[in-house]
């Protein structure tokens, strides 16, 4: 029996200006597992996380988290729901006016009435979990990219959320900190019984931690499955992505008029004429 | 969040400086006085023409400011200007009935004010009294007109 989905996305449509980003996305994200959403850059993976977090409103379709329609909630209920989520941003998004300790303490201070001593213990525990207890007095500007992301992770789990959203956790990391992050995500998911959603295009790392994967391209889910089925998939769209072939169903070229006519200037003349 | 003491101190000083500045503007620049408003009494004077006299203008005696113009309005019985003066209560009962009030100008282009001078009558003006002997403001056009008609006459 499959566990009841924690997040359910039905027929999600979203567009920015004239550009359609999602055209009917359906996803089921089960409890207590690491679900990866993959796809080439520019397919709106970050946008999908923002839709799940309720920061953007879809044109059509709905997002249910634990049975609640995120975009129908009042502002207050939405903020309450967000206390149950943690999100790790691509840039870390640490508050630049607070030091590492205060960054991690921030969610605790605003959402709980815990005494200072207990907040201190909790923060140090979270920092210990990401291995940065010694860096508590540094400012975000003094941290390397990998360290900033680990601090951000500690902040994301400060309130012991049920759901953690990871936005491109592996981008721009050296192999060591990449390995550290992979380990951390895996370990935290097991230790805290989290539901994790990882948005990424780093195949190897994602395949190694995900329980289930979705591949998004062209505004739709083109494939889904466990890492094993993904690795051996016959689907040309999947194998292009997994094996990193430059051209295939996902075109190398950005949509453009024919090269020949473009070079001769005809289509240009037509457009302005 | 821990507040830094120096920052708090700085902001405190800043706001204090603002208040002190406002007090300075009040006392030193606009001439408000902290002491309770001085006791005043009122006299009335009718002028046939007040020129550019404004409410709050100074009332002086021998050049010393002794009060202010309280209000100016039109007396519809005589169609002249009724000016109410508030004077220092020290002068109450000290000004004789035949004191004169004249509208004067400070310098050639300065503001207009009222100059009082004392007469010799033994009877004194009390609160609400009326100064009979008044001298209107000099209006430049009238002066020129007089001058021209005098020239024409001679």
């Amino acid at each position: 029996m499959t566990p009841a989905p924690f997040i359910e996305i039905d027929n999600l449509h979203f567009s920015r200006g004239d550009h359609d980003i999602f055209r009917g996305v359906n996803l089921r994200i089960p409890h207590g597992q690491v679900t990866a959403i993959m796809g080439p850059s520019g397919t709106g993976k970050t946008t999908l996380l923002k839709l799940i977090g309720g920061q953007l409103t879809p044109d059509r379709g709905r997002v249910l988290i634990d049975g609640q329609d995120v975009h129908r909630l009042s502002r207050k209920a939405l903020f309450t729901l967000r206390k149950r989520m943690g999100m790790l941003f691509q840039s870390g998004a640490l508050f630049s006016d607070l030091n590492v300790f205060e960054n991690v303490a921030f969610p605790l201070r605003v959402h709980t009435d815990l005494p200072d001593a207990m907040i201190r213990d909790l923060v140090l525990m979270k920092l210990q979990a990401v291995g940065l207890r010694g860096a508590r007095n540094l400012t975000p500007a003094e941290l390397s990219g990998g360290m900033a992301r680990r601090v951000a992770l500690a902040r994301a789990i400060a309130l012991d959320p049920e759901l953690v959203l990871y936005d491109e956790p592996f981008v721009g990391q050296d192999p060591i900190s990449m390995g550290v992050l992979v380990q951390l995500i895996k370990r935290l998911n097991e230790a805290l019984a989290l539901t994790s959603v990882v948005v990424s295009h780093d195949i190897k790392e994602t395949l190694s931690i995900a329980d289930y994967l979705y591949l998004i391209a062209d505004g739709q889910v083109v494939s889904e499955g466990t890492p094993d089925t993904f690795d051996n998939s016959e689907d040309p769209r999947v194998s292009q992505f997994v094996h990193g072939q430059p051209d295939g169903p996902v075109p190398f070229h950005y949509p453009a008029p024919g090269f020949y006519s473009d070079m001769l200037g005809q289509s240009h003349a037509k457009r302005t004429g | 969040m821990k507040r830094s003491k120096t920052m708090e101190f700085g902001v405190g000083l800043f706001m204090l400086a603002g208040i002190i500045g406002l007090v300075f503007l009040g006392l030193r620049v606009s001439g408000l006085s902290l002491s309770a408003p001085t006791q005043t009494f009122q006299l009335q004077a009718n002028f046939s023409n007040i020129g550019g006299l404004k409410p709050r203008a100074r009332v002086t005696m021998a050049g010393v400011t002794v009060g202010r113009v309280e209000s100016i309005d039109l007396d519809t019985d005589w169609y002249d200007a009724r000016v109410v003066l508030s004077l220092d209560s020290e002068l109450e009962g000290q000004l004789s009935q035949d004191s004169t009030a004249a509208i004067l100008t400070a310098g050639l282009l300065g503001e207009q004010y009222i100059g009082l001078s004392v007469g010799g009558s033994p009877e004194m003006l009390e609160d609400g009294g009326v100064i009979r002997d008044t001298q209107s403001a000099l209006v430049l056009e009238e002066l020129i007109q007089q001058f021209v008609s005098n020239m024409a006459g001679s």
Binding site: K50, G53, Q55, F79, T80, R82, K83, M85, G86, M87, F89, Q90, S91, A93, L94, F95, S96, F106, P107, R109, V110, H111, A152, R155, G273 | M1, R3, M7, E8, G10, V11, L13, F14, M15, A17, G18, G21, L22, F24, L25, G26, R28, V29, S30, G31, L32, R56, R58, G107, L108, L109, G110, E111
Partner: protein, 266 residues
């Protein structure tokens, strides 16, 4: 002929779109102000406000005071050369004080404030937006309007009137230095002429009202531009420029309107 027509219609369309966008932005700015301004004051909020007071108020003090001193000195120098022709140099104090209190202090302090603090507010909030700090704050369940914008808005609203008072005081002192100490206007007439003609309610009071209005407008423009910008480095630089341009124009335009209402006998 037809191409001319299509070109014209395209221009009109673009013009219309611009209009719609402007109205939309004004609407956004309005709801933004309402959401940020109505905050429940808490001890946490006070501490954030204090921090911003330090940033926009205390740190702007030096530039405002130095400018005030120079403006007062120039006023006295210029005023003296004009007044002395009429033999009215005793009215120097009156002239310096009235021009400062009614006009120059509120306006120049607001312009300096827009350049010094307003642009910094825009850039700071813009950078927080570009580095996803505002988004992550929202995801933590904290409203950045209350946490980031409101303290800055209130700090600006309180700080600028204080800076304006400082500007006036220092400017009047600067006028005293030049007029009395240097040009030899009689000290007594400098102060007494001033006291005789300056009314606390009319002149100081109206100057303060102006300053409060400017404070609201400048800080509002600054934080809104920061909050609403396109989160790229170009977006931040444009928004910073817009803050200075818009708030300067707003201050000068509003100054005319307010002066007409207050002193124009309307």
């Amino acid at each position: 002929m037809r191409s001319l027509l299509t070109q014209a219609s395209r221009r009109i369309t673009r013009f219309g779109r611009k209009g719609c966008e402007t109205v939309e932005a004004l609407g956004r700015a309005g709801t933004f102000l309402a959401q940020a301004g109505i905050g429940v004051p808490s001890s946490e909020g006070f501490s954030l406000w204090l921090r911003q007071m330090h940033f926009v108020g205390v740190l702007s003090l030096a530039i405002v005071l130095v400018s005030g001193l120079f403006i007062g000195m120039v006023l006295a120098l210029q005023g003296y050369t004009i007044l002395v022709d009429f033999g009215a140099e005793q009215a120097l104090g009156q002239m310096v004080a009235l021009s400062l209190l009614r006009e120059l202090a509120p306006v120049v302090a607001a312009l300096l404030f827009a350049g010094r603090a307003g642009s910094a507010l825009t850039a700071e909030i813009g950078l927080m937006k570009a580095t996803e700090q505002l988004t992550s704050m929202e995801m933590i369940g904290v409203d950045p309007l209350k946490r980031v914008v409101a303290p800055r808005l209130w700090a600006g609203f309180v700080a600028l009137p204080i800076l304006t008072v400082g500007f006036s005081v220092v400017g009047i002192y600067g006028g005293y230095l030049v007029g009395v100490e240097w040009l030899g206007v009689f000290e007594g007439s400098y102060w007494s002429n001033m006291q005789a003609s300056v009314s606390f309610i009319v002149d100081v009071g109206n100057g303060m009202i102006k300053s409060l209005v400017f404070a609201l407008v400048v800080t509002w423009i600054a934080v809104f531009q920061g909050y609403d910008l396109v989160p790229t480095s170009e977006g931040i630089s444009r928004a910073t420029t817009r803050t200075v341009v818009y708030s300067s124009l707003a201050v000068l335009g509003l100054d005319f309107v307010l002066t007409a209402v207050m002193f124009g006998g309307l």
